[in-house]
Amino acid sequence: MSIGYAAVGWNRQKKIYDWLIFGFCMLYLLTFVGLTAVFNPDYTFETVLIRSTSTLAVLLLHIILSIGPLARLNKKFLPLLYNRRHLGVTMFCIAASHGAFSILQFHSLGNVNPIVSLFTSNTNFNSIAGFPFQALGFFALIIFFLMAITSHDFWLHNLSPKVWKTLHMFVYLAYFLIVMHVMLGVIQYETHPVFVILISLGAAWLITLHLIAGTKEVKKDNQQFNPAAEGFVYVSEANEFEEGRAKIFCIDKERIAVYKHQNKLYAIHNVCKHQGGPLGEGKIVDGCITCPWHGFQYLPKNGQSPPPFKEMVSTYDVKVNEGKVWLNPNPYPEGTERQGAIIIN
């Protein structure tokens, strides 16, 4: 959370995260090169570079796409989400290296522009085995590039969260393109089934994970509440709340986070203004509701970020009557102060 823009707002967690990414990538690349030198000494260094960077990028893409649903299924994975964009930019750099090495090796020695050659050297669009798979990888790389250069909060604020989120959802299209890039490319030559098994397992893992997490979220969204007098609906028992934590209720179309703080209940909109993180899955730190994704903070009583920050979310009326919690799903304008409901034990 910052009032200005810096290239990277470094802190201890980010440094550890990035060193781990760097160490993992180096270990992977060196292991790949070493094993190739032992088992396939005929391969040229360019080929080893192309293959090692491609497999590493695909592996990182699977890890990146796993983090979101894993964090929704188990809070222990939230630390991975915190700095996911660094992992994404790393993956783009490695994928770009793969693309650059490939274009240099296969398309740069003729008298045709390498990019033109990429699209004109193979035009077997009516063949599956001979399909111009390189173009699929190129388009995926363009998506990763756009995501990488707009990953900074500057672009999030200036493009608007809606446009930014829509752009970044193209990663799913990129994933599909990558699967087909692999299947129509290297799989057509390396006919050993292990390659197909690996890419299939990766796809099965991601599809299963996203469907489980998505179905769980739909169940939460479809939870039914009975309306009562004065617009309030009964949502829970007061003793079910944990101090400093929230329960989330989806009434009508929006989710509302009801936090218990200093023996009072406060209700705010569940969606963080930063990247749409689930505020109700965070906790209260230093008196502020803290988003579990990137640490953006809001005051429980008015949904405002503490000065000098300017983010605000909607607040709601909540009341406690005979140990039962009642919530009014009609939002107040963002940043409106509410008194909260005292819990009488």
């Binding site: 599956i128 959802m169 057509q188 030559y189 299939s200 179905t215 739909v218 749409g276 993180g277 689930p278």
Partner: protein, 164 residues
């Protein structure tokens, strides 16, 4: 995340649940199979060949030649019998599995015959894999009567061309 966005995530992955397995299966089924039973008949003699690399032995000459007819640029393996050997007694294999000496595991390109020279066409997929991945092309000349390989020929593919 708002409710419509959560719904969109789920819809995309529901779509991928169908499209990705279909894509994987279709691509896997399209992988060219090794020809093990069927002998490929040599193609007719052509005058539009450009020799890229060749190896000459006492009894025969084997070359990688590019057929430039109609701008198709098809790659062939050319076998020239110097008429000192019984041509019909040899099979030509492409070495595809370097982990084994078992000739049955390799891809058979064809059998040498009465035509001289003879051409064994190399598939588009093979040519592409040669240039893009393995960087070498290995061929085995196999004596049917003695049931043993008599020669292994390795062509190296590089950015500057093909060499022995």
């Amino acid at each position: 995340m708002i409710k419509p966005l959560r719904k969109r995530h789920l819809q995309i992955w529901a779509l991928w649940t169908v499209l990705i397995p279909v894509g994987i299966i279709v691509a896997w089924m399209a992988v060219p199979k090794k020809v093990t039973q069927e002998l490929v008949q040599p193609v007719t003699l052509k005058n539009t060949n450009v020799t890229l690399a060749s190896v000459e032995k006492e009894n025969y000459k084997l070359s990688l030649v590019l057929d430039t007819a109609e701008n198709k640029d098809l790659l062939n393996l050319e076998f020239i019998n110097k008429e000192k050997i019984d041509a019909v007694s040899f099979l030509v294999y492409r070495l595809t599995d370097t982990t084994t000496d078992n000739i049955d595991k390799q891809e058979i390109l064809g059998r040498t015959g009465s035509s001289n020279p003879q051409y064994f066409p190399l598939t588009y997929i093979y040519v592409r894999s040669c240039f893009e991945f393995s960087n070498i092309a290995k061929f085995v000349l196999y004596d049917i009567r003695k049931k043993q390989p008599i020669d292994t020929l390795i062509f190296k593919v590089s950015n500057t061309g093909i060499a022995l």
